[in-house]
């Protein structure tokens, strides 16, 4: 049975799963839900995911939601220890950057993104937008220092799931005006652009 993905492709969390599938060479079918498409509060969707958020996958009967849990599941179930190591310590070192992306880093750009890119009328306060831009840029500076230390990617010299989570956020950050110059992040972005999955779902996948 093939892999089915529920969620519209404009969602940054859906794009984590799509990029991960590209890295794994996994074929899939996708249904548009959320955003401008069908509402995730429809019973058919809530039957799949009671918390009503995209993405959701159905992998031959295994129904998983939450983007980071999904991509960890996909990499592990396909034996891709290069993307997520099996040993507890190196695995945790990948996962902690994913958790940080899903909580602090994600929250930092939310107001600026809604106000400046999505033109959301609820997020027009210029001071709140400036604070959001500043917090986000300080977090990107932490990533810049980590890339310098780690050597090329978030967790070392090779690409992992942490780069899928962080990479899409960096792509979003690059849609903001007046960003500080961060040379390691710029080189990292160029490196990500060498990957077909990132070109499709990051670079050319919308902000």
């Amino acid at each position: 049975m093939s892999l089915r993905i529920y969620g519209y492709a404009g969602s940054i969390n859906v794009r984590k799963v799509l990029w991960c599938c590209a890295e794994l060479g996994l074929p899939f079918e996708r249904e548009d839900w959320a955003g401008p498409f069908r509402s995730t509060s429809e019973p058919a969707f809530l039957a799949l995911n009671p918390v009503g958020l995209v993405p959701v996958i159905d992998d031959g009967g295994a129904v998983i939601w939450e983007s980071n849990a999904i991509i960890r599941y996909l990499a592990t179930s396909r034996g891709r220890e290069d993307l997520l190591p099996a040993a507890p310590l190196p695995r945790a070192q990948v996962e902690m950057w994913m958790d940080w992306q899903a909580s602090d880093f994600n929250n930092s750009w939310r107001v600026a993104f809604q106000g400046l890119i999505r033109n959301n009328p609820d997020h027009r306060d210029p001071n709140a937008i400036l604070r959001s831009l500043d917090t986000c840029s300080r977090m990107v500076a932490v990533i810049d220092a980590q890339l310098d230390k780690a050597g090329g990617y978030i967790c070392g010299g090779s690409f992992t799931l942490a780069d899928i989570a962080i990479g899409l956020s960096i792509h979003r950050w690059r849609s903001f005006p007046d960003r500080p110059a961060l040379a390691n992040v710029d080189r990292y972005y160029e490196r990500l652009c060498e990957r077909a999955g990132f070109r499709t779902y990051g670079l050319n996948g919308g902000p």
Partner: protein
């Protein structure tokens, strides 16, 4: 011996202290963060560049982010207790941890700041009411999930119960008017009866 950096009033430190107890690991806990400070020193930033608690020190390496630490402790020390070896079953638990991180914690935090910690900007009734509304929506989801299973991911206690259980501890011990949630209440009381949980979840909450 493990070292856990962070004050015990932090919900994220509570998760790690609880998990260490469940996997039978002795630890030393060092109070930093909140009123204790100490997160902006170069030494602490070298452990966690984001300057946040908890940090787990084991031998010569350090981990941060509470959910990742909980999963690490389960994988490294809990194969006979809380670790789930099957990858699909593990994902069933992990999705609830991620939901805790991205949905439930951000909903509970402003209520705690408003009614317990009295943080300026969060104490106005309107702000508290908005936070409560969001939190109740999420508690209704938990109620439905726990209605027909003893633990979040099914029949076995595990890492998801630790992460989300720390949120339930806050929820049931904040001085607020709550909707009745019998399944969540039963689950929380079963969790709190575990010795490792009681040691990790001080009362009153602060």
């Amino acid at each position: 011996m493990l070292k856990i950096w962070g004050r015990l009033s932090s919900i994220n430190v509570q998760k790690v202290v609880w998990a260490a107890g469940e996997v039978g690991q002795a630890f030393e806990r060092i109070d930093v963060g909140g009123p204790f400070g100490g997160l902006d020193t170069p030494e602490f930033r070298a452990m966690n560049p984001n300057g946040q608690i908890p940090v787990l020190e084991e031998g010569d390496f350090r981990l941060w982010e509470s959910n990742s630490i909980v999963r690490y402790l389960a994988a490294r020390h809990g194969t006979a207790s809380i670790w789930e070896a099957d990858v699909a079953r593990r994902a069933e638990a992990e999705r609830w941890m991620d939901w805790m991180l991205s949905e439930l914690q951000p909903a509970l935090a402003p209520v705690l700041w408003g009614v317990v910690r009295k943080v300026p900007g969060y104490t106005e009734p309107k702000v508290i009411a908005e936070g409560m509304k969001r939190a109740e929506t999420l508690m209704a989801i938990l109620e439905a999930q726990l209605a027909d299973r003893p633990f979040l991911a099914g029949e076995r206690f595990g890492v998801a119960d630790i992460a989300v259980g720390c949120g339930a501890h806050r929820w049931f011990n904040m001085p607020v008017e709550r909707a009745e949630r019998p399944a969540v209440r039963r689950w929380y009381e079963a969790l709190f009866a575990r010795p490792a949980a009681e040691a990790a979840l001080p009362l009153p909450i602060a």
